[in-house]
Amino acid sequence: MHIPDGFLNTPTVLASGAVAMASVGVALRIVGKTFPARRVPLIGLAAAFVFAAQMINFPVAGGTSGHLIGGVLAAVLLGPSAAVLVMTCVLVLQCFMFADGGVTALGANALNMAVVAPVVGYAIYRAICKLTGGGLRGILIGTAFGAWCSTVAASVICAGELALSGSAAWGVALPAMVWMHMIIGLGEALITTLVVAVVAQLRPELLLDGDKPVSHAGYRELLGYGVLASLGLAIFVAPFACPWPDGLEKVAQRLGIEHLAQAPLVGWPFADYASPHISSAVISTGLAGCVGVVVAFGLAWLLARAVMLKPIIERNNSGQNR
C-alpha cells in the first residue's frame, strides 16, 4: 500500500502531510507525557521488530505469500500513540533506505498506515474489549476485527488520496483497493491474532502493562485522534461520497461496529432527498460492504474461538486461568 512518488498532486501531498504531522505531533506529546521512561527504548526496538516481522512471509496458497503490516499489532502491544511512532519510523526507514514509498508521499503513507490503521484498529479493539468484559477472548476478537478494519480503513483513505490527485478514478480506485484489502485484511487479522495469542500466553502482563498507562488518558487520546481521523476522512473521502448513504456506509464500514447506529444517521438529515439518489448500485455496494463487515466480525469471533480452544496443554501449565 506504499504510495510511490509522483502519484499524488500538490494539494493532496500538503493536506495529507499536514494531517500526518499533526497526528505524529499528538503521538509524540502523549508518549512524552505518559510513556514510562523505562519503555522508551522499546519503541525503537518495536519498530525494528515490526520491520523484521513484515519480512516474514506467510504462505497463502499456490506459492503466493502474505506478510504482516503490524499497525494493530503494535497498537495492541504498545498502545496507540507508541504505535503511531513505531509505524512512522518504519515508514521513514523504508522510504529513505529502501526507496519503498515516496518521499513526497511520506505524509500520505504515514496517514494511511501509521495513523489511520493503528488508531482505527485500536479504537475497535478497545471497544470490543470493553463490550466483552476484557477477557482473553475479548482481546482476541477485538484484535482480529480491529486488524481487519484497520486494513480496510487504510485502503479507503489511500483510494481517496489517489482519486483526489487524479491518479485513478474514484469509481475504480475505491472498489479495487477495498476489495483487495478486505482479503488482505483477513490475513492480517489472522496473523495479528495468532501473535497476540502467543504473547498473551507467554507474558500476559505485557498486554496489560501496555494497556494500563494508556487506558487512563485513553479517552482524550482517542478523541484527539478521532478529530484528526475525521479530518482526514473529510478531506480525502468526503468529496467523493456524493450520494450520502454510500458515503455513510463507507464511514460505517471504516468504523466497523458503527453500522449498528447507521440507520438513524442516514435517516434524519437526508430523509427527504436521499431516497431518489439511492440507485440500486449504491445500495448493493453498501450492502456488500455491510455483509463484508458482518462476515469479518463472524470470522474474527470464530478465529478467537479456534485460537482459544487449542492450547489445552499450555492452559493446564499456566494453571491460574480460572
Binding site: 516474514i56 526507496a99 519503498d100 485513478a168
Partner: protein
C-alpha cells in the same frame, strides 16, 4: 528465515555501497536536501513535461556514474521496488486518456525511486539520521530511528535463528500449523525484543543516559 532471509539480508539490508567518490564524500545534509528537492521538482512538473523528465534522468545517470556504484546494484534495487509502482500505476489505466497518465506517472515515480536508491547507496543511514537531527526532527523520532536501525539486523538474525530452531523440531505441513508456527516465532520475537529493550534501558542508564 530460510531463503527469504538470505535474499533480504543480501539485497535489502545493505543499500550502502562504499566507494571513494565525490558523491560519497559530499555532505550528507546537502545530499539529503538535493535529493528531496529533486523528488519534489519531479512531482511538481506537469504530466507532459517529457523534456524535463529526460533531463532529470540524465542528471541521475551522471551522478550514478560519478558515484562509481555499479549500475547493476542500483537497477537491482530499483527492480525490487518497481512492482509496487506498476501496481498502483495500473489503477490509472481505467480512466479517459489513461495510458498517457500511466506512462507519465510511471516515468516520474521511477525517476524519484532511482534518486532515493542513489541516495541510500551513497549515504550511510546514520549520516541521514545526523542530517535529520540537525534539521530539528523531534529527538524522540531520531532516537527511535537510530535504535531501530541499530537493532534491526540483530533482531533479524534472531528471528532467523528462532525460525531455524523451530523448523528443525516441527514437521507438520498443514497450513494452519505453519501459520501458528510462524505466529509463535513472531510472538516470541516480540517477547525477546521487549526484554532486550529493558536490558538496553538498564545499559543506557548505567552509562549516564538521562531523559
Amino acid at each position: 528465515m530460510g531463503k527469504t532471509g538470505s535474499i533480504f539480508a543480501g539485497v535489502l539490508l545493505s543499500p550502502y555501497k562504499h566507494r571513494a567518490s565525490v558523491v560519497h564524500s559530499f555532505p550528507p545534509m546537502a545530499k539529503l536536501i538535493v535529493a528531496v528537492l529533486f523528488v519534489v521538482a519531479m512531482v511538481l512538473l506537469p504530466r507532459d513535461a517529457w523534456g524535463a523528465f529526460a533531463a532529470g534522468a540524465g542528471a541521475l545517470l551522471a551522478v550514478a556514474l560519478v558515484s562509481r556504484v555499479g549500475l547493476g546494484h542500483l537497477l537491482a534495487r530499483l527492480i525490487l521496488v518497481e512492482p509496487f509502482v506498476l501496481c498502483v500505476a495500473g489503477l490509472s489505466l481505467f480512466q479517459p486518456n489513461g495510458f498517457w497518465i500511466f506512462l507519465s506517472m510511471l516515468t516520474r515515480s521511477t525517476l524519484c525511486l532511482f534518486c532515493m536508491v542513489l541516495l541510500s547507496a551513497t549515504t550511510r543511514f546514520s549520516d541521514i539520521l545526523g542530517a535529520l537531527w540537525r534539521l530539528r526532527v523531534p529527538p524522540l523520532i531520531v532516537t527511535t530511528l537510530a535504535l531501530m536501525y541499530r537493532y534491526l539486523f540483530l533482531i533479524f538474525e534472531e528471528a532467523g535463528r528462532m525460525h531455524r530452531a523451530r523448523a528443525s523440531r516441527t514437521f507438520s505441513q498443514s497450513r494452519w500449523f505453519v501459520w501458528r508456527r510462524w505466529a509463535t516465532v513472531v510472538g516470541h520475537l516480540f517477547v525477546r525484543t521487549s526484554s532486550r529493550a529493558e536490558r538496553i534501558y538498564d545499559a543506557m542508564c548505567a552509562r549516564g543516559w538521562r531523559t
